[in-house]
Symmetry: C2
Subunit: 221 residues, 2 copies
């Protein structure tokens, strides 16, 4: 295909884009906790686990690595999460944008939900770059793979960086057995966020996840 | 601690070292497949899974992600591997350098075993940089954490890059819940490879893993 909408990181041009990029404060912590979805439908769960660990959110116990711990694609289903979504439901049908927001909300992190259809390219870019520039925020996008010339349809993954000169975002694809991390043109990413998710009947979009301020009222430690 | 033996990647100096480094051809494929050890003793297994996937070695079936597949910390124990090492043995006591080499050899990839005590710093550096510069090779080091001013003792992890100006290697620590990726001075890394593993009575060291040439005689496809 003769397009440069998407540049993969395992190619010399993709690697060079990372070296040049200036908005990449999230990258090393996302890299540290980057995982593969355990089922084809677990993209939202895998993206959330990566982001929660990278924000150093206190996780449930994990006996296999005691006394250490971290979020996994199993222990993320806490009592509070199970009230909204169960593993078998996700395994069967994945999550919509709002269902994933409910999972994260149940874990008491801040979640802002943005529907792609409600923002133009400029506001999408600005909102994403602002979040990628904040130490206490992370971004998960819900995009249509077809717009990125990839097989499949709806898919969740974290963003980790922005390249201003090329106006591209670094997408850390959690279906790692299918796709390496890649740089997506902002206009192409926006287009991939505006399509309708047939399960919800609403557009795709993105979530901005924020670490709770431990000094704020009403937030559990 | 007032030393700069180890610089972590989630700090601005660590991130800058990556941008400046020139020997980093392995990085993006290691990043793509980087995982956390599932038990505290599974470092060699987690490092091997990362490296095997990054070399695109044909893996066993993985029903949860069918029709895709990849190596995991479970399916790496093929019949041929089980002949040498079993999960319960590794869970209980980890692997020595030679035990991990036997696991990889059973998977029919090329494995060269280097004992730290048999190489000086210069030869260690040259051998590691040569391997990190080869598209078909990957490196797993067996080092003593104490030399890196970290808690613990023997530990396996892949290397992913080399910074010539600072003479440092990028270590992708698979105990990700403990340590971010970090840049280790070559002399410090060498020192961490020469200590004795009390289980084997031999020194630690490193493995160079090579993707088999599919056109060579006697190598299974």
């Amino acid at each position: 295909m003769a397009h440069d909408d998407v540049v993969y990181c395992d190619t010399p041009p993709g690697a060079r884009l990372f070296d040049e990029a200036t908005v990449k404060g999230h990258f090393w912590t996302i890299c540290r906790y980057f995982i593969s979805e355990k089922f084809l439908t677990y993209c939202g769960i895998a993206a959330s686990v990566t982001v929660l660990n990278s924000l150093a959110i206190d996780s449930p116990e994990e006996p296999q690595i005691y006394p250490y711990k971290m979020f996994t694609q199993d222990n993320i289903f806490t009592d509070a999460v199970l009230h909204h979504r169960r593993p078998l439901e996700v395994e069967k049908g994945g999550n919509t944008l709002e269902q994933l927001a409910a999972v994260l909300d149940a874990l008491r992190v801040g979640v802002e939900t943005y529907f792609g259809s409600e923002l133009d390219v400029d506001r999408t870019r600005r909102t994403l770059v602002d979040a990628l520039s904040a130490e206490d925020k992370r971004v998960i996008v819900d995009f249509d793979r077809k717009t990125l010339h990839q097989k499949g349809s709806g898919h969740f993954s974290p963003l980790a960086a922005y390249h201003k000169g090329e106006d591209r975002f670094l997408l850390m694809d959690v279906a790692r057995y299918k796709s390496p991390p890649c740089w997506v043109k902002a206009a192409v990413l926006h287009e991939a966020l505006v399509g309708i998710d047939t399960t919800s009947g609403k557009s795709r979009g993105f979530l901005v996840v924020t670490r709770p301020d431990p000094t704020a009222d009403g937030v559990a430690a």
